[in-house]
């Protein structure tokens, strides 16, 4: 089969505005959208620019807008999207070139929520004990690959790039609900800020976008609840 692939192109050294370019790409229904992009880059136009690395949905490099939804190009098959495919850069982050965006604002929000274990008690000689139930409590949010599909799907984030965004909250959740962590109060203070968790309007775009199947909106709700019942 042939796929009609439209790609939003932008070369900052030449173009004033992004524009759509159309390519006819031979494809198999089992090909990934990433394979289509590679076909163009390797056969038609070497200047087509995008990030990718693992090509199987674990490194988080190739999140982009595919037929209107944020997905990983390596995790969407042609058979799911059909023979008309439009690929654009993630929304809400500055476009640097073609499908490649500046990720720095995204990682800056991530760093704000203290995304690391905080526990100042001396560690035991062996492991800290944690029950299977305690481990299960934050399992879902450990799956995050920081691809930014959730944050860039959020209408609140589109309107206000200062909003810390779903991905940062997911990574805060991963530690707030880890029984070994003692930094929840600090993180909740950050997330109680006017650009924090209360900006969420529960549109569930983030949950729909997550290529790892994380229940993002539920995690955000759990953080809100932790704030409401703080200190009780």
């Amino acid at each position: 089969m042939d796929v009609t692939l439209r790609i939003r192109r932008f070369n900052p050294e030449v173009d004033q505005q992004p524009h759509l370019e159309t390519y006819q790409v031979p494809a198999d229904p089992m090909d990934r959208v990433l394979d289509l992009l590679h076909w163009v880059k390797w056969n038609l136009d070497g200047s087509l620019t995008f990030r990718r690395s693992c090509a199987h949905g674990i490194c988080g490099s190739d999140a982009m807008l595919i037929n209107g939804t944020h997905r990983l190009a390596c995790k969407v098959l042609v058979r799911e999207v059909g023979d008309q495919v439009t690929v654009e850069p993630l929304r809400g982050l500055p476009v640097a070139k073609d499908l490649l965006v500046d990720m720095e604002p995204f990682f800056a929000s991530y760093r704000e929520v203290l995304p690391y274990l905080i526990n100042d008690q001396p560690a035991p000689d062996a492991e800290r004990r944690q029950s299977q139930q305690e481990r299960e409590r934050f399992d879902d949010t450990t799956k995050c690959i920081l691809c930014a599909a959730c944050t860039t799907s959020c209408p609140v984030y589109w309107a206000d790039g200062k909003y810390v965004g779903p991905a940062a909250i997911v990574n805060a959740h991963r530690f707030i609900f880890d029984s070994r962590d003692q930094g929840a109060a600090q993180r909740l203070t950050v997330l109680n800020d006017k650009e924090g968790v209360w900006r969420c309007r529960t549109t569930f775009n983030c949950t729909d976008a997550c290529p790892r199947g994380i229940k993002v909106t539920q995690a955000i709700q759990e953080v809100k609840r932790a704030l409401l019942f703080r200190g009780e």
């Binding site: 620019t49 693992c54 199987h56 640097a96």
Partner: protein, 577 residues
């Protein structure tokens, strides 16, 4: 304009080894981590099954058995002192990670859970042992995240999307590196007292591979061009269970949890090849068994070119809780439901046992006399300590990166504290400037992608699971022709900013260099050992070949040298499972 930076320690690469090194180094010395990817994109994140350590949390175990398994698994080409260190320090390394927040799966009493893995046994091969510590089937992802989180906490300095393209040496010691900034196309000179390479593997010289697109061997390639030999390059691991056609890894954890390899007749064929531990045989043996099944007509599918990994008999809750990712890969990419049917698999190029030669301190050694190049370090898959010998056991890669990443980081920082900066050579970025101008200087011609595709197909067909003199000689000739084509390569993208076309072309150059060292080393080694399997020399030959290969860059090709294997207490025995 070339910007210049000065640090005590520069770490190249931000996967598990680089991040573990950075935690040590940045506490002790002014440290920069230079990485061509954002750190969390590194391929450590794709590791699935676990990290072995003899914690004995669920059954009797000790690190000496782990050492024995590692040496036997490596077909006795392992440096035994290094294996002892790794297996002994494994226990502390796992606790370190746990203390950093690593979310290991737990036993009912809250300790770190452990499961079986290929080639890991109790009492020196008496039966499989539960030694692998894991976080579902995303252990590598969790290690990468945990180490990155700790670096964020520590405020480590990162240069993201900077490609290191040259190593600077002066007075026979490390002086720094030259890096290309993807965003601007500018070159940066990093002056440093210690340079630590942690750039991972180079599986992209093969077509069917579990490796990420980024794994092009830039670190070893840079070192090789500056006179560092490549050790044991002929030993490349083919993982038995790659997703059919794609090569995406399906962890050995599937077999650790009870999964079975079956041929087209449904026969659990591993019982014929490894009667004692069957499907938990080491990877080299399992990959050869699969190839044999396929060649003898017992492969499945319209072309008879794959076999099945069957987990359909496992409790569905085990699949959901312990193997969620890999079963999802089967659903996503092949449309197969592993709870109901076998998953089509074939061996996939997975792991380089060889690489930059180092001693157990992470110091790079330059020759058979183990002469250290002061200030130069390497750790992880790009390095060869050698703890994996001729065949790495599953889980020992995650262990290798944290144990030797830590050692390299500590030693690099301590070295930096003891010496001053070496003088930079004149025009330090000159060599990179000339290389890039040369590559980008052809107004038309053949794309790097076409040359790379031919390299990958050639390596799959001629330097894969089974090798012969004829095939390897063919590949040597083909490599000469590929290199000649590369001399006329066309880089279409002429822009400065984010020129991934230019960088893919640079990366192909490293792959070509390393493929040549692999093929020349493999052709010379007239025996079969671990991951190197010669049909014309099917037996292991300890009398002539119990030695490491060192491939030096020489005028017009590769010059081979050899060095002895360090033996402590384990004499080579026949390798049966």
């Amino acid at each position: 304009m070339t910007e210049q930076h000065t640090y005590d320690v520069v770490i190249v690469g931000a996967g598990g080894a680089g991040l573990r090194a950075a935690l040590e180094s940045s506490k002790r010395a002014r440290t920069a981590v230079i990485t061509k990817l954002y750190p969390t994109r590194s391929h450590t994140g794709a590791a699935q099954g676990g990290m072995c350590a003899a914690l004995a949390n669920v059954e009797e175990d000790n690190w000496e058995w782990h050492t024995f398994d590692t040496i036997k698994g490596g077909d006795y080409l392992v440096d035994q002192d290094a294996a002892e260190i790794m297996c002994r320090e494994a226990i502390e390394a796992v606790y370190d990670l746990e203390h950093m927040g690593m979310p290991f799966n737990r036993t009912p009493d809250g300790r770190i859970d452990q499961r079986r893995f290929g080639g890991h046994t109790h009492h020196h091969g008496k039966g499989a042992v539960r030694r692998s510590c894991f976080a579902a089937d995303r252990t590598g992802h969790m290690i990468l995240q945990t180490l990155f989180q700790q670096n964020v906490k520590q405020g480590t300095t990162f240069f993201d999307e900077f490609y290191v393209l040259d190593l600077l040496l002066a007075d026979d010691r490390a002086a720094g590196v030259v890096a290309y900034e993807l965003a601007t196309g500018e070159l940066h000179v990093f002056r440093a007292k210690s340079v630590v390479f942690c750039t991972g593997g180079f599986g992209k010289m093969f077509k069917i591979t579990s490796n990420a697109h980024a794994l092009t061997g830039d670190g070893p390639g840079v070192c090789y061009r500056r006179g560092v030999p490549m050790e044991d390059m002929e030993f490349f691991q083919f993982h038995p269970t790659g997703l059919y056609r794609l090569g995406v890894l399906l962890s050995e954890a599937a077999r650790g949890e009870g999964g079975i390899l079956r041929n087209k007749d449904g026969e659990a064929f591993m019982a014929r090849y490894a009667p004692t531990i069957k499907d938990l045989a080491p990877r080299d043996m399992a990959s050869r068994a699969i190839y044999t099944e396929i060649r003898e007509g017992r492969g499945a599918g319209p072309h008879g070119d794959y076999v099945y990994l069957d987990v359909s008999h496992l409790d569905p809750s085990v699949i959901d809780q312990k193997l969620p990712d890999i079963t999802e890969f089967a659903r996503t990419y092949l449309g197969v439901e592993p709870k109901k049917e076998g998953v089509p698999i074939q061996p996939t190029a997975h792991y380089a046992m060889g690489g930059i030669p180092t001693n157990v301190h992470g110091e790079v050694v330059m020759d058979a006399a183990a002469t250290v190049l002061p200030g130069l370090y390497a750790a992880g898959e790009c390095a060869c300590v050698s703890v994996h010998g001729a065949n790495r056991l599953g889980t020992n890669s995650l262990l290798d990166i944290v144990v030797f990443g830590r050692r390299a980081g500590v030693n690099a920082a301590e070295h930096a504290a003891a010496v001053g900066h070496a003088e930079l050579p004149d025009d330090p970025a000159g060599a990179v400037t000339r290389m890039l101008e040369e590559l980008a200087g052809h107004p038309q011609g053949e794309r790097a992608a076409a040359i790379r595709a031919d390299l990958q197909a050639g390596m799959d067909n001629k330097a894969g699971v089974y090798r012969t003199e004829t095939l390897l000689k063919d590949m040597e000739v083909e490599l000469a022709s590929l290199r000649e084509r590369y001399g006329r390569v066309w880089v279409q993208d002429t822009s400065r900013r984010y020129n991934t076309d230019l960088l893919e072309t640079v990366e192909l150059g490293f792959l070509l260099d390393l493929a040549e060292t692999l093929v020349v080393s493999a052709r010379a080694r007239q025996e079969s050992r671990g991951g190197h399997s010669r049909e014309d020399f099917p037996a292991r030959d300890d009398r002539q070949w119990l030695k490491h290969t060192l491939a030096h860059r020489a005028d017009g090709g590769v010059k081979l040298d050899y060095k002895p294997v360090t033996m402590t207490r384990y004499q080579p025995m026949e390798r049966k499972y």
